[in-house]
Amino acid sequence: MLKMIGQRLMTTIPSIIGVIIVTFLLTRVLPGDTAAYFAGPAASPQAIAEIRGKLGLDQPLPVQFVSYVTALLKGDLGQSLTTGQPVTRDIAARLPASAELTLAGLILAMAVALPLGVLAAVKQGSWIDHLCRIVATAGVSLPVFFTGLLLVYVFYFLLGWSPAPLGRLDVFASEPPGVTGFLLIDMLLARDLEGFRAAFSQLILPAVTLAIFSLAPITRMTRASMLAVLGADFVRTARASGLTNGKVIGTYAFRNAMLPVVTTLGMVFSFLLGANVLVEKVFAWPGIGSYAVEALIASDYAPIQGFVLTMAVMYVALNLMIDVLYGVIDPRVRLEG
């Protein structure tokens, strides 16, 4: 197992290097002029030139690249101009916020999508199969900012059930000491139940928004993969041997159907983590997606590079985790590995 992980990590090194080079070059070919943008209103050409010099943007590209990589090796991702803080600090503060939201959304989606998918496959053509189809189509065809705004309108504006969409915590709640960066966990560690409740209630609407969007791929994948497994020889054998329906579906079929579903989950997670910009905007969630987009609009190189690099590393880690998980679910994969 350890050997496999080690080998896996070795193969990712070239792709990480590739990512570093490509993002560096991509940000430099962006048409915007960072210095002119940050010189602010009423800037004279000298002022712009001064800023360009300060940011090192007047250096030739290879020189800029070398200084970028040198800083990177020291763990320094540079300075964000949009927030005025080191990129590493920004990402460390914002990644857990995004991860907490995405995980909550994904768990919620799984809680609905897995049973729905399994039932749809078992009772193929029944009303529950149609429901599954409707849920999947609706979820994927409603844009997230629309579902988000709709939920805010109904549950906050009209009904007043949900707290004000002001981000991760109500303005009057105090933040727990940051241990994991996941507010729910930190609140529990600090034994602050009131705070936990506050953080949890802020999380519900954005998590539901994300869940609605990610329902579709998970439900469809579960259904398809269950159908394939239910038609397999070993299921027929199990049924012939007189095992109960629950045992056949729950123990044998479901576990075997999980492999493609886990793959889908991994993809949905990494996609949502960076792509839920609109949800972050609607709910004022201080996440990593809106951070990257704002930096992109301002042609702010360091955060963009930092974001892409972080995402690449996370993607590698996630894929590795899924591969390990395969082994747990299906011993045959482990043997081959």
Partner: protein, 530 residues
């Protein structure tokens, strides 16, 4: 009561919705706390620093003091106070006295204390003003606009007295001391923490070292800024709000929902349509101040492309659907800039003599050789207003044979584009802090060709009039040259003014004491609640 699994789950599910009890317990702190929602917050705590964003002005305003400040004068339509350029009052200065020859001004300092507990001295004022003129970037440019250019101009007379020597007589020198750049740092604290940097740029970017009415309790860039009152503030009436929470909420729809539901006290920067709806609904107060020295204009390139021909620039001014643009893009939250008198007043902005007259425009285009195709550029950050505006321009110009292609670019690219000065048509809003006609033209039409002279307009006759108005001490000469240069741009139209936008703020009915500042950031010092 025994806790079963079922009751535990029920309690857990109902928890998020049980808000009533908690809200009551927080009541006392809420009444002295203001919740402000804005699109984005400060990226630094040092407005003099390079690359500081617009909201940093608010930090400078509330956490630091200047020698002078603008005196509050009532907004004509009610709703709070605005400022008048010529009327100043002392902030750190207890009194000030112009020299008989008008070439220097002496300031007596108040007995004020920094947040650190140290007394404010003339030495701190000198260090701060020296910093503003030497640090480069926007701060230095802004200081220069008021003829404050060299550290030698700031002279410490004694601990409580400072003299500013003038390079030339400039009516903008004193008002320029009241804007958000020449604020006063605790120089000892800054130098102590500055390390090798004589201006302590890194330290002051992340820390407040001032004497202002508020301190920054916590600052999370991109999330929120929390201010607490400085109870020892002596440079004005002690503010009534103890604590200000400024949250960054990117989505305007969310900001509107928050203010309408009553959860936020003040909302800045909503789209004009939302301000109109909120004002019509009447549940919250919307205060709009026409932005002094601010105007939405269509800049026509006078050096390259078709609009080199003045007849075509005039044609564009004749064909603009002014009223429709004001309604469809600003939803009436602005002042129409068409149909003005032939002889201009001494004011800026003011309506140009043009109004929508397609026949006149068509005749001018025909005389200039007929129709053509061109592009219209605007900043995507302004899209809420600029997009409908540009569509209307495209439609109107099509009727006189000019085919317009609209090009929308993100902020960083926009700056680069207008710097090139090659775009034939650009839609932009410019607003100068110092409300003088000559100041506006100095930035947008003067031969110094600043980045905001988007039309690349060059005319020695205009430069002469603008310079004359800028430095004359004689009111009659000033009025005459202002009228002359406005007449000149009325004919030359390097920029077609469309509308003077209002600066709108929505607040709960319980909020009073609104004060407009030229930097257009909230001034917490005057606000009241309840």
């Amino acid at each position: 009561m025994t806790i079963t699994r079922r009751t535990a789950i029920a309690a857990g599910l109902s928890l998020p919705f049980a808000r009533g009890g908690a809200a009551q317990a927080q009541a006392p702190s809420r009444s002295e706390t203001l919740l402000l929602v804005q699109e984005y917050g400060p990226n630094s705590l040092d407005m003099q620093g390079i690359g500081s964003s617009q909201p940093v002005n608010g930090v400078a305003l509330n956490c630091y003091d200047r020698l002078l400040r603008f005196k509050p004068v009532p907004i004509p339509g009610g709703g709070g106070n605005t400022i008048a350029m010529g009327e100043l009052e002392g902030e750190l200065a207890e009194s000030w006295q112009l020299a008989p020859d008008g070439m220097s001004c002496t300031f007596k300092l108040r007995d004020a204390t920094f947040h650190s507990g140290r007394k404010v001295t003339a030495k701190d004022v000198k260090w701060s003003l020296d910093r503003a003129v030497s640090i480069g970037g926007f701060a230095t440019t802004q200081m220069n606009a008021g003829s404050l250019e060299k550290p030698e101009q700031f002279v410490v007379v004694d601990d409580k007295t400072l003299r500013i020597d003038f390079i030339r007589k400039d009516k903008m020198t004193l008002p320029n001391l009241a804007v958000t750049i020449p604020f006063v740092f605790d120089s000892e604290l800054a130098i102590k923490n500055g390390g090798d940097d004589p201006w302590a740029k890194d330290y002051l970017k992340n820390n407040i070292a001032g004497s202002g009415a508020y301190k920054v309790e916590s600052w999370k860039p991109g999330v929120e800024t929390i201010y607490v009152r400085n109870d020892a503030w002596t440079c004005g009436k002690l503010p009534s709000l103890r604590r200000i929470i400024a949250r960054d909420i990117a989505s305007p729809s969310t900001r509107r929902a928050l203010i309408e539901r009553g959860d936020a006290d003040i909302s800045y920067g909503l789209p004009p349509k939302d301000f109109k709806d909120l004002a019509d609904a009447g549940k919250v107060n919307v205060v709009g101040v026409p932005i002094p020295n601010g105007v939405w204009g269509c800049y026509l390139n006078t050096q390259v492309g078709p609009f080199k021909d003045v007849r075509l620039r005039q044609a564009v001014a004749w064909v603009m659907p002014y009223e429709k643009m004001l309604q469809a893009s600003l939803f009436g939250r602005g002042v129409d800039m068409s149909g003005g008198p032939e002889t201009p007043k001494v004011a800026w902005p003011q309506p140009f003599p043009y109004k929508t007259d397609v026949a006149k425009a068509k005749a001018l285009v025909d005389a200039a050789g007929g129709g053509f195709s061109t592009t219209l550029l605007f900043d995507a950050g302004n899209a809420t207003v600029a997009e409908p505006m540009s569509v209307l321009i495209k439609e109107a110009l099509a009727t006189i044979g000019i085919n317009v292609e609209i090009s929308k670019v993100p902020g960083a690219n926009f700056r680069g584009e207008i710097q090139k000065k090659t775009n034939p048509m650009v839609l932009n809003r410019f607003a100068g802090w110092l409300d003088y006609p000559d100041y506006y033209l100095f930035w947008t039409m003067h031969g110094n060709n600043s980045i905001f002279n988007i039309a690349a307009y060059q005319n020695p006759a205009l430069d002469k009039l603008v310079d004359e108005a800028r430095f004359t001490a004689d009111k009659a000469t000033y009025d005459k040259s202002v009228v002359e240069f406005i007449k000149l741009v009325n004919v030359e139209v390097p920029m077609v003014p469309i509308a003077q936008p209002t600066h709108d703020v929505a607040m709960q009915k319980s909020i009073g004491g609104y004060q407009f500042q030229p930097c257009r950031e909230p001034d917490f010092r005057y606000l009241t609640k309840g």
